[in-house]
């Protein structure tokens, strides 16, 4: 029977072209939506690497001349240090730190180089005071964080995330290892890994995981000042503390301007911003698929009507109602298979062309499976009513249908 159905579908491929096209388009739409949904869903469930609850973010603006020379830079850093210590005397403040860049900020600083053996390494750089890792509850999996005594080292200590550690040293223990910057080794002091963190997905739950390297920032030195603070508060601190915090900050640095927000509110804004286009795309896709489904039902209905005589003949020759029902559905599934095969050929081209390279093979494969299953379910659902109609055809009437 399957062979017979295949012959029917194959010999009618020209008249089935419209259905095949509809299924192909539906498949591509479903695949695109599924790939993005799975991509974001998987990212959402990856470890963030930090705790955003009860952490507040302060961004401040300083005068235009503050960074002009070492003396001014040192003065600015000293003032930041004083601010941090003062804030820690406030009741709900557990710990305060400065750093570029706290979570849910879109700014970033990155570095790329080729190692001596030719490997290409790329990482984001986070410059932060030693307390930053603790303020954000960043989980260390090996080694240690920064300490005040590290300022006196003749080499630069860094903390890296797992993926960067793997890129740099493979399966070997990275602690105490010197990072090979290849020809750029002359740029500064030797850099050694002192700790490994699980991750630090700065841009939040939907961000693509990337390599991260934390470098220490010493407020006692004349470096270009950090202009962002991360402050851990006692659990349950109310939003009303914002006003008190702002007043204290203004009191400590009257000529600087401060913007205070909880990471929770920054996270909400970030998720809204990232999810809104996905939601719109999802709604558009659902409408598209609904339209395709309606079209499919219409085309199938017409197809079944055109085959009334054939249905009558099959019934006269001994086909039961379920036989007719499954014949129509079976043929539809075969037509869907042709559409899906064409769709698969299109979809396979995408990674070969290097498009959407951020989608890994697991996401791609899962999206493919989800799309195939969805299309089969969609085709099956759309075929149910027309095939039911066909099965209800009275043979005596059908044989005289014109």
């Amino acid at each position: 029977m399957i062979r017979h159905m295949f012959k029917m579908v194959w010999n009618r491929k020209a008249s089935n072209a419209l259905i095949i096209l509809e299924i192909l388009v539906s498949f591509l739409v479903v695949f695109a939506v599924a790939a993005m949904a799975i991509f974001n869903w998987r990212n959402y469930h990856r470890p963030l690497g930090y705790e955003w609850e009860d952490v507040w973010h302060v961004r401040f603006r300083v005068g235009d001349t503050e960074f002009d020379d070492d003396e001014r830079r040192l003065a600015a850093n000293r003032r930041v240090e004083r601010i941090l210590r003062e804030l820690e005397t406030m009741d709900p403040v557990v710990q305060a730190s400065a750093g570029h860049f706290p979570p849910y900020t879109r700014s970033s600083s990155s570095r790329g180089w080729n190692t001596s053996d030719g490997r290409e390494i790329h990482t984001e750089i986070i410059l932060a005071t030693p307390e930053f890792l603790d303020v954000l509850g960043i989980k260390r999996v090996a080694g240690r964080g920064f300490e005040a005594a590290d300022a006196a080292l003749h080499w630069k200590p860094v903390v890296v995330n797992r993926s960067l550690a793997v890129d740099l040293f493979g399966a070997e223990d990275p602690i105490g290892r010197t990072i090979d910057f290849g020809s750029r080794d002359d740029d500064g002091p030797e850099t050694r890994v002192i700790g490994v963190i699980d991750d630090y997905r700065k841009e939040g739950e939907l961000a693509v995981p990337s390599n991260m390297m934390f470098e220490p920032f010493w407020l006692q030195m004349a470096q270009r000042p950090l202009t962002q603070l991360a402050i851990r508060l006692a659990p349950g601190t109310s939003a009303a503390f914002e006003e008190e915090l702002s007043e204290r900050l203004h009191a400590l640095a009257p000529e600087w301007s401060f913007n205070v927000r909880s990471l929770a509110s920054k996270r909400d804004a970030y998720l809204r911003l990232r999810l809104a286009p996905l939601f719109v795309a999802g709604v558009v896709a659902v409408f598209l698929i609904l339209m395709v489904a309606l079209g499919l039902v219409g085309v199938l209905w017409q197809n079944v009507t055109q085959r009334t005589l054939e249905v009558g003949l099959r019934r006269a020759k001994g086909a039961t109602r379920p036989n007719i029902h499954w014949q129509i559905l079976g043929e539809l599934m075969m037509i869907a298979s042709i559409g899906l095969t064409l769709g698969a050929l299109v979809v396979v081209q995408v990674p070969m062309m290097g498009w959407f390279s951020f989608l890994d093979s697991a996401t791609y494969g899962l999206a493919f499976v989800v799309s195939v299953v969805t299309i089969y379910l969609l085709a099956g659902a759309c075929g149910l009513y027309p095939s039911w109609l066909a099965a209800r055809v009275q043979p005596a009437e059908a044989l005289h249908y014109e």
Partner: protein, 221 residues
């Protein structure tokens, strides 16, 4: 083989009630070649549909091989149509997208049978109607007479007890009609197949064993 007792068939719509058959009593014996005649609209095709279990009577009983089928389920009726009845239609009703041999295989699709066995039986049926050389042609590539021979091969491929032919020569010229009649006579005489044929042609009806005449839904003989 087929018995109809006090059969009535009434088609009802919201406003109109049309009596297609009224108080029909007849018996078709095994091995008979019977023709049904009558003017257009007298109920010939309706009678054939009832005998072929394609329709159910409004009143009365239809029996096949001594068993009333009035209360049979769709599945049981389908099985009887598949195993015991063969149909030949005036307009052939071949599926244009299937080759000759695939068309002939259709009744066997609804039996438990291997593909090779199906193919063997279909080829044998085509040989019987003299179309062995056309098995892979499509219906559009055949003449009307050849198409009707394919339809006959399809009707007999399952070796039914009864062949029901609704004006099988109606769309053919006289020579092709004679060819088809020769095949039907051969089936009746050599295989003992019971044949009931609706026809308008007195000459062809005269060649059959018995003529049933209908007028306004009633038997007139």
């Amino acid at each position: 083989m087929i018995q109809l007792r006090a059969v009535e068939k009434v088609y009802r719509t919201d406003r109109i009630e049309t009596i297609a058959l009224s108080n029909v009593n007849l018996e078709i014996r095994s091995g008979e070649f019977v023709s049904i005649m009558g003017p257009s609209g007298c109920g010939k095709s309706t009678l054939l549909n009832l005998m072929g279990l394609l329709d159910v009577p409004s009143e009365g009983t239809v029996s096949l091989a001594g068993e009333s089928v009035v209360s049979y389920s769709d599945r049981q009726l389908s099985r009887l149509r598949n195993r015991r009845l063969g149909f030949v239609f005036q307009t052939f009703h071949l599926i244009a997208d299937l080759s000759v041999v695939d068309n002939v295989e259709i009744p066997l699709l609804y039996r438990r049978m291997s593909g090779s066995e199906r193919r063997r039986l279909a080829l044998a049926a085509l040989e019987r109607v003299g179309l062995s050389s056309r098995v892979h042609h499509f219906p559009a590539q055949l003449s009307g007479g050849q198409q009707q021979r394919v339809a006959i091969a399809r009707a007999i491929v399952g070796e039914p007890d009864v062949l029901l032919a609704d004006e099988p020569t109606g769309n053919l010229d006289s020579s092709m009609g004679d060819e088809v009649m020769a095949i039907l006579h051969d089936l009746n005489s050599s295989a003992g197949t019971t044949i009931v044929m609706v026809t308008h042609d007195e000459r062809l009806a005269g060649q059959t064993g018995r003529i049933l005449r209908l007028f306004d839904g009633r038997q007139v003989n």
